[in-house]
């Protein structure tokens, strides 16, 4: 008999929305954010809490309201209703030096040298230009781009220019880094690099919040996510809790096809080829296993498969949003 648990089943440790922040001061706290553009409701009552030091994802299809939400959190635009606090401040511009922001539409002055672009972005956040240049050079060296320091942005490849902009976002050593669709337009290698950078930032205690329409980035990186669809946030909390919203699935393979033991299977059990699939009973698998063994079902294998974030997204945001998310992922950036 082969019994496997394909992911860590942490029955009973479902973390509900908002409890993710328990015990941690919040880097970002938003309550009931509403934004209308000419009567069009772009964001409708968004609540988000991001603990300090966390990696947090804002997950949703294009047009869901991710960018508008991030812009409100950053103070680029003000919400029509609701409150937002960044490190306890109502006005994010008051603590601009603590924040780094990479917008979705990457932008740099084409005629600027890479090192000057980084220093300028630092200057926008209060760093002196000489200090910005010094730190910029360190960052470029660390990312094997020192040779590009004196090259104009227009002379850099797209990937290099994006890296330069990201380094400009980090040059002033912010405590909160907000990245809007940071993986879009990057090839697989650079996506991997960016994931490592995000993890490194979090390891240093920096809070990272990023938006994405690609679930596996959020699943791999984030402790918490806000699922956003149609301007609303139907779920905000830990990734684990989101996954726990769907019961784990049991995959059972037996030697016997029929028998009295089938009566012991849960009501939702269904056949998929050689397997029975059903939700993990509340009582766990042990009572079921006992009955199957006693019924001589001949268990060949039994695995408990935990729901992924994609399943959770479908469950929470609906099939339509999930399909759009998938389509965005394919059409958007080849991810």
């Amino acid at each position: 008999m082969d019994i496997a648990v394909s992911d860590q089943v942490q029955a009973g440790n479902a973390v509900q929305t908002e409890q993710a922040s328990a015990g941690h001061p919040l880097a970002i706290e938003a309550r009931g954010l509403v934004k209308r553009f000419d009567g069009t409701l772009a964001v409708d009552g968004v609540d988000i809490s991001v603990p300090e030091g966390a990696i947090y994802g804002v997950l949703g299809p294009n047009g869901a309201g991710k960018t508008t939400t991030l812009r409100m959190l950053l103070g680029i635009i003000d919400p029509d209703e609701g409150v937002r606090r960044v490190f306890g401040h109502d006005r994010p511009h008051d603590i601009a030096r603590l924040i780094g922001y990479l917008p979705e539409e990457r932008g740099l002055y084409p005629s600027m040298k890479a090192i000057e672009a980084i220093a300028f972005m630092g200057a926008l956040r209060g760093l002196s230009l000489p200090e910005g240049r010094e730190r910029g050079l360190e960052l470029l060296e660390r990312h094997d781009l020192a040779h590009a320091a004196d090259r104009q942005i227009r002379q850099l490849s797209k990937g290099m220019a994006q890296t330069v902009q990201l380094l400009g976002t980090l040059v002033h050593r912010p405590k909160l880094v907000v990245l809007d669709e940071p993986f879009s337009g990057l090839d697989a290698i650079n996506q991997g690099k960016l994931e490592r950078m995000i993890r490194a930032l979090a390891d240093e205690g920096t809070t990272v919040i990023f938006s994405t329409h690609v679930i596996h980035h959020a699943e791999r990186l984030c402790e918490g996510v806000a699922i956003i669809a149609g301007g609303k946030v139907p779920y905000a909390g830990s990734v684990e809790a989101a996954r726990d919203r769907i019961p784990a699935q049991v995959r059972l393979e037996t030697r016997a096809r029929e028998g009295a033991w089938t009566a012991a299977l849960p009501e939702d059990a269904r056949r998929e080829g050689d397997y029975f699939m059903f939700s993990l009973p509340d009582t766990g698998v042990e009572p079921l296993l006992r009955q199957l063994i006693e019924g001589d079902a001949g268990i060949l294998s039994l695995s408990i498969e935990r729901a992924g974030l994609h399943d959770a997204f479908v469950h929470i945001a609906g099939e339509a949003a999930a399909k759009q998310l998938e389509a965005d992922g394919h059409a958007g950036n080849g991810q």
């Binding site: 009567g39 772009a42 960018t67 924040i99 922001y101 932008g107």
Partner: protein
């Protein structure tokens, strides 16, 4: 220590608005100053000057080659001789340009009669009028405007031709004065008008530069980075400062070049002669020069803040052109409106021109030329600065409300959104 604790020192966690504006201004100033577009901007006035010079030269050449319009004269020979003698005498008193000239159809040469109407209608265009008959019964034939223009002259010629001996021109003694209230007022008005026109031309030339700035910024997609890091008011102010500084550099270069040309001895376009002929403005030349620069700066900031808001709202050059057209028309209107300050007896219009923020710099420039009082000008400068702040605030608010929106999400998403900052993000 958590970041929340660290940000207790929040006053150090951001730049002041002025510092923020200076960060933007410094970048823009350096970038524009060392760009090719600045070179073209410096050369800009050369093109109209060259066109002006060429058209002036062509015009002069055309005038030189154009037939001198004359009066066809056909009378008995002795009458014609008397008229010619009178003509020489009048021309010696009034100068060659002051009197019409005659083309003689002398009977002695076989011209017994002429057809005045046919001569005047002739396409050669030489004959503007015809004087026929005799000294006692002269007939002047011509179009209405020619008759109005030449009747007096012809009458004077005829009178002198009849009584050459009895007419004497007395020697006129002259006494020169250096100051005349009427002249000073008139000429200060000229100074005011020239200054206002110069101010208008400079602003027209330079304000357009502001327009393209934010469009370029949006094309570079960097505006969101600026908006995230700095208050939008500071971004706008920084951009205006940079453009103002660039324009002042441009003006300094142009005026230095004109100064050099004048110092070199030439007087291109009679600039030196015009300047030397201008009377002292009411507040004196040194202060007037300073006030001219200040008024230019305020006017530029005022119109620039409007252009900047337009540039921020537009996403393409075509949109900029469409949106800026009314503002350009407004500039023209403002200039003409401000000209009311030059009219005597229109105090209400003058007050309106001073109070309307966009025309105020023009009106106060005119006032500095004509009046010796300084305090109203200083008050007006403060008033204009207040309006600059209001315009910047309005522009940045508009920018944040109308431009920093994204995506086709939310409800009612079929509404038009051509002005949106970007169309395909969430």
């Amino acid at each position: 220590m958590s970041a929340s604790n660290e940000v207790d020192m929040s006053q150090k966690a951001r730049l002041s608005n002025f510092q923020a504006a200076m960060v933007v201004a410094r970048r823009d100033f350096v970038a524009i100053l060392f760009s090719r577009s600045f070179l073209f901007f410096l050369l800009g006035p050369l093109f109209p000057a060259v066109v002006f010079g060429m058209s002036g030269g062509l015009g002069a050449a055309a005038n030189q080659n154009a037939p001198d319009v004359r009066i066809a004269l056909q009378m008995p020979s002795e009458d014609m001789a008397a008229i010619l003698a009178a003509h020489e005498r009048i021309e010696s008193e009034l100068g060659r340009g002051g009197v019409p000239h005659f083309y003689l159809f002398d009977p002695a040469d076989g011209h017994d009669t002429i057809d005045p109407e046919a001569l005047i209608a002739d396409n050669s265009g030489i004959y503007g009028a015809a004087l026929t008959g005799t000294l006692e019964e002269p007939i002047l034939t011509g179009t209405q405007d020619r008759l109005r223009m030449w009747s007096g002259h012809v009458t004077m010629h005829l009178a002198l031709a009849r009584n050459q001996a009895d007419v004497s021109y007395p020697a006129l003694s002259t006494s020169l004065v250096t100051k005349s209230g009427a002249t000073t007022k008139d000429r200060r008005r000229d100074t005011a008008q020239i200054s206002m026109t110069l101010l208008f031309l400079l602003m027209m030339l330079l304000a357009g530069m502001v327009l393209s700035n934010l469009v370029e910024e949006k094309a570079n997609k960097i505006i969101e980075i600026l908006a995230a890091a700095l208050p939008m008011e500071a971004v706008f102010l920084g951009k205006l400062f940079a453009m103002l500084a660039v324009s002042l550099v441009g003006i300094a270069v142009w005026f230095s070049l004109i100064g050099l040309v004048i110092l070199s001895g030439s007087d291109f376009g009679n600039v030196k002669q015009t300047l030397m002929g201008m009377p002292d403005p009411g507040v004196g030349w040194p202060l007037f020069s300073v006030l001219f620069v200040v008024n230019f700066s305020m006017g530029y900031l005022l119109i620039g803040s409007i252009f900047l808001a337009i540039g921020a709202l537009a996403s393409t050059v075509r949109e900029v052109q469409t949106l800026s057209m009314p503002v350009t028309m407004l500039q023209l209107f403002i200039f003409f409106f401000a000209s009311f300050t030059l009219i005597d007896g229109a105090p209400v219009l003058e007050a309106m021109a001073i109070l309307f923020p966009l025309s105020s710099p023009f009106a106060m420039t005119a006032r500095a030329a004509q009046s010796e009082e300084i305090w109203p000008i200083l008050i007006a400068i403060g008033y204009q600065a207040l309006w600059v702040a209001i315009f910047i605030k309005m522009g940045s608010t508009l920018f944040r409300k109308r431009v920093m929106k994204s995506g086709g999400g939310g409800h009612n998403s079929n509404k038009r959104r051509w002005y949106q900052f970007k169309r395909s993000t969430s």
